[in-house]
Symmetry: C2
Subunit: 228 residues, 2 copies
């Protein structure tokens, strides 16, 4: 009934699921998050952490991008969020992960011992506030996700594109780091519906699609009207 959409399973295990290597960074003074961090590269589709594992680390995207997801028993996959350069992830409040995380493309991830942060937070109110702020931002994002999931396919795709645009450096063109299947699993649609909706937008001159991973905005106004 539902497609098994876990790309991972099509990929030879030892090649994809391991980080490429480890580069220790040590004690940085640049910012609070950087305490005792190590920058670790992950290959495309490599697992960063798994559902139900202990949340031993916090993560910050140095470059590349990351998806978090859950797979239901019947194989349906829901992507919880995409994290781009600069985003922090790996928090879900508790001390167990409730999502799994994978590299969307090859990426560099700053990995910080959670304990280091949490014990620091019990002394330093600024750290405590930072933890709270990150959690609150995550909550906000998740609430927006809920609002997205009750909308029509057009509204979801338009919302997604505008969202990615808002988070990316360039202005009138987005580079999508993830394949269509990831977008579909984030939006609660099928890959076919995502594709069709994009060509629909292209046909009505709202966007151009120079390549599958590049979306250029032609009429952002019209897209925004779809967003609500």
């Amino acid at each position: 009934m539902f497609i098994q959409t876990v790309a991972k399973q099509k990929i030879p295990y030892p090649m994809m699921l391991r980080p490429i290597g480890v580069r220790t960074v040590g004690h940085s003074t640049k910012g609070a998050v950087e305490l005792f961090g190590a920058t670790v590269p992950f290959r495309r589709n490599a697992e960063i952490y798994g559902d139900k594992e202990d949340a031993e680390y916090l993560y910050k995207v140095v470059s590349g991008s990351v998806r978090t997801y859950k797979v239901l028993t019947d194989g349906r996959r829901q992507i919880g969020a995409f994290y781009l350069t600069g985003d922090v992830f790996g928090f879900e409040g508790g001390d167990k992960h409730t999502f799994s995380a994978e590299a969307v493309a090859n990426c560099l991830i700053l990995v910080i011992k959670r304990r280091a942060i949490v014990t620091q937070a019990s002394r330093d109110l600024n750290i405590a506030r930072m933890l709270w702020t990150i959690t609150a931002a995550e909550l906000q994002r998740t609430q927006d996700h809920v609002m997205l999931l009750i909308k029509t396919a057009q509204e979801r795709v338009a919302g997604f594109l505008l969202d990615m645009a808002a988070r990316s450096p360039t202005c009138d063109e987005v580079e999508l780091p993830m394949p269509r299947q990831d977008i579909a699993d984030y939006l609660g649609l099928t890959i076919e519906t995502v594709s069709r909706t994009l060509t629909q937008f292209e046909n009505s001159a709202m966007i151009a699609i120079p390549s599958a991973r590049r979306i250029a905005f032609r009429n952002r106004e019209a897209l925004s009207r779809l967003r609500f």
Copy 2:
């Protein structure tokens, strides 16, 4: 295209939108949340706070129940959460509300100045941790909501019933404080689909419906299998 589901608009304004009265509670020593609170009664469907208002207060349900919701420009309403006796709400991280809140039924709400808590938190790490814990619980709940919204109607309704059961004191029967329209707007379904799904469950002897607001479990096992 979409039904206007804002019950509020059908109700004479001055009668429904005001609290019934105010009873000051003063400085309690029972728990951290109770600092400088006042218990305020709200009538059924009365607004507790509005979308985009300053989040000046925090709220705790003393008795009754509360819904938070957003209304899209075209009238679609999404209910974000139901809060039952003992639950804290009115947090969404930032200092503006992103949802509105209404009394589902007549209820008593403990209202606490947010500033009192936040300034307290900047001195007291336990308070700070409590704020974080509440936000994290809210995040967890919202993530579960996302997972619910990608499922089939049967799975959503089954999940909702089991969820309400887990939160209610009684064991093999739930008293639903909210009308079908609220359930529909929480689950991202129509009222007709909710109703049909319930009778379907009744016909397959999973539940009994002695009255519209009472659901008795006959085969919880089978319901759980639908939940995933």
